[in-house]
Symmetry: C2
Subunit: 329 residues, 2 copies
Amino acid sequence: MKKIINAVENVEEEMILGLVKSAPDKLRKLECGNVVVRARKKEGKVALISGGGSGHEPAHGGYVGEGMLDGAVAGAVFTSPTPDQIYEAIKAVATDKGVLCIVKNYTGDIMNFEMAIDMAKDEDINADYVVVNDDVAVKDSLYTTGRRGVAGTVLVHKIAGALAETGASLEEVKAVAEKVIANVRTMGMAITACTMPAAGKPGFELADDEMEIGIGIHGEPGTSRETLKPANEIADELLSRIVEDIDYTGKEVAVIINGMGGTPLMELYIVNNYVSDFLAEKGIKIYDTMVGNYMTSIEMAGFSITLLRLDDELKKLYDAKADTPALKK
Amino acid sequence: MKKIINAVENVEEEMILGLVKSAPDKLRKLECGNVVVRARKKEGKVALISGGGSGHEPAHGGYVGEGMLDGAVAGAVFTSPTPDQIYEAIKAVATDKGVLCIVKNYTGDIMNFEMAIDMAKDEDINADYVVVNDDVAVKDSLYTTGRRGVAGTVLVHKIAGALAETGASLEEVKAVAEKVIANVRTMGMAITACTMPAAGKPGFELADDEMEIGIGIHGEPGTSRETLKPANEIADELLSRIVEDIDYTGKEVAVIINGMGGTPLMELYIVNNYVSDFLAEKGIKIYDTMVGNYMTSIEMAGFSITLLRLDDELKKLYDAKADTPALKK
């Protein structure tokens, strides 16, 4: 294993500290664990929390800040945060407007967020959650019932975060988060696996001419192993699966060309060149495109494509100000 | 070679097209070659151009936009753009305020930018250039006389771009660019080499326990090969070289923890955790920190640290609005 780290057991904490020290006027870390919250708590708004295992940086700590999250909980790499840790995060950010947790669809994450929410309710904190399940690659997997939550989660942070910032109610913020979830789809692939620090070796092996289609973000193999094809053919395969799942024709979409952590921007731009043409040809109008590392799988080389179907409400919230380390609008 | 591309010979053009299509309201590509300019030319300001070989994405096309560059010229991967190509870029962006080219210190780049500037002067375009040489790792190299230009170039774009946007004169914009150059230093390292698409194999080989210190951004080996150490020791080594070169004590600095393209953000945050503590201990005040992929070497895994010594003038320009695909302020 070749990594720029200190000790395997300190990866999560040092990473969170390094993130917070990159924006100490905006972020702080809770003493009790790897939880990032806004440096100045904002009252009078629904507090948004996200989280999950580490290894998806900048998700989720990088999205804490004005217009997006109020807190992010980082478990060990690819491991759900504990209920106690999530509960501490909820307590730290809770306002009288309530708390909404944005949870990616993994069995462990949901179980632990649910337990933490129950603990918070016992303390009279009005907490609720939504489950993001944008990955069209799998219906069920080792880690999930139903589709997995992947890069589309960032758009839930963005849009629910924008509405929360206006002082909307918990019900309204939850409803818009669920509207994003209903309209966002993602599919990904990889040409290399990633190595969890604690494991010390890649999650799977790929030959020099192989790729994994339908990859997740936890180092697990995808849904099919194929011979590596030209970028345009790969993008076509992923896009075809996405537009099969939702009819985007005639609609406006936000697009994410998401790098998995080890993918050069050169390749992501090449992919976007095709994605852009594909969408135009299908009569799908691109409202905005984000190209970069938004929801990663440590140093995995690969990408995912996310499409969010927009209407006027979602466009307005998508465009609203965000000021976080990983996303500015 | 395992890459998400179509054909080796189309990498540069498809990449530039993909970048432009990610922000078609803000960027356009010149018909004549791989040159990115603002979609709407802005008159009444000095036009800023940067460029060089491709492979450093998002540099430089990703920095075209309000508050930064007016144009970026992309040569083949790790190859200087041709004088003709640079000349077309200069013609496309030139205003009556003149044109300033921001050139990284590589012999080929300087020669070709100088030739293009001479061609532009023959057409009565008032063009000039500055040379960025922030890399403290080498005094001279295969490609340079003096230090190389690396990630500090992004801060020259940012600060000279902010001043140009105010309508300052060519002399003033050149002077502030040179002030940044005088105050910015960088040093980098890598744990893997990168592969130029046309070469098909890595520029050098590293054993599983080796790293290159003093790496450049063109796939060339660094200045010394060492056994891989913990992140903090590596960061200490790079920082020590930087603060030897300029006395930053008691000053405020802007910091870039720059990923080389294949480095996960997890590792960059871990590095920043140490950098931040190191600077505090030396009595160097951190004004702002950027963590991410700003000046890359395709998919190389590694990082560089950049420090820019700031004064009130530079801080104001650093903070000024920027709206580009790769950097927003």
